[in-house]
Symmetry: C2
Subunit: 218 residues, 2 copies
């Protein structure tokens, strides 16, 4: 059996690891706001359980089993977020905190039922992929809006960092998943961008925002 706390560590490792699948104790500590000695101790425990490859002074890696378990926690989180939005009428900016708690419920039937009632969704309300029951993640190739060039027409497909503030800002600007927009110009000084959707008039987005918007190119 795996504890609530252990699930949180695995999820964080999976979510914040680099391209090689590695993360340092220090980075993990910062992301979790838990002091390094505590993280270090937990890594030894997870290593005992066969979920983490741990070697002194080396970056951490998840084992295959660790990766699968982490993906299944993420699955529970994202299914819950989707359920809260689609079936209970919550806003996409409200669901993260609730899902953080519900993701630890131990009941496969409960999450299977959500999945079924939702019609087996591929993505959560922020566009992040929902891992399948085997822990496999189907990821799309998306580009940050910041990388796009003037004249590009792209569709908002996902939000890189789903903080409440950013999501509220997007509500305010009437930018939703699926919204098509065209880049009109980029200010070279601060990389702010003027964009245009079919429904609203042109608007400026700061680089801080365009870095977080993940777009699909046709």
């Amino acid at each position: 059996m795996i504890s609530h706390t252990e699930e949180n560590y695995l999820k964080a490792m999976f979510g914040f690891m680099d391209e090689q699948g590695e993360i340092t104790v220090n980075e993990l500590s910062k992301h979790l706001s838990i002091k390094m000695p505590t993280v270090n101790g937990m890594m030894k425990r997870l290593s005992e359980k066969g979920l983490v490859h741990y070697e002194s002074y080396k970056p951490l890696k998840l084992t295959e089993e660790g990766k699968k378990l982490a993906a299944l926690v993420i699955r529970k989180h994202r299914l819950t977020e989707m359920y809260l939005v689609e079936k209970m009428g919550f806003g996409w900016e409200e669901v993260h905190i609730i899902a953080e708690q519900i993701e630890h419920i131990q009941s496969p039937e409960f999450f299977d039922k959500m999945d079924e009632l939702l019609g087996y969704p591929q993505h959560d309300p922020h566009g992040s992929p929902i891992p399948d029951k085997g822990g496999k993640i189907k990821s799309r190739k998306l580009v940050r809006l910041a990388e796009c060039a003037p004249e590009d027409t792209v569709i908002l497909a996902a939000i890189a960092d789903s903080s409440e503030e950013l999501l509220k800002f997007l509500n305010h600007r009437n930018l939703k998943l699926g919204t098509e927009l065209t880049v009109e110009s980029i200010e070279s000084f601060d990389k702010s961008m003027v964009i245009k959707t079919s429904t609203d008039k042109s608007q400026v987005l700061s680089n801080l925002v365009t870095e977080k918007l993940l777009m699909e190119k046709e």
Copy 2:
């Protein structure tokens, strides 16, 4: 803030206390399957927090605040059970275990939303009353089927002990909340009862079962 564990103690105290609102350390220990010293220690902590009246060698009582908190945990549990049955399609025998976990979620909005989507239900799927947001419980006067006499016509209104086995048995016998039945005879030897509903042929219920069925008299 109140912990998951503390919530469970309060809920158990509230649920198992006697008519005077009292319960002994020993009884509580048995209901929770937690050893007496642990229970005793927790009672001292809850007493520090002003939730329990604790005096050495005397039976335990909840304070007014303790009672309210306990009722609010029970509210979360019963709303969840109702939601799982009505909105997610679970059977009434499946929901207790899941609700035991979800009742500890800290999110008033989440439970308010359930309440709203359910249309502010008065009872859970087993007929138990759902406390209101102030912790007040509206209880009906119900009689055990075992107390009824031949010729009595009564309606199944609640199940005293909602164990999975009993609920499955009732499924099997096609007895649901709201089912009207007439007592045809009682066997004095073992107090088993012959009953008849409008839809099925007469059936025998053992005293073990009739003690658990709570009926409404017209």
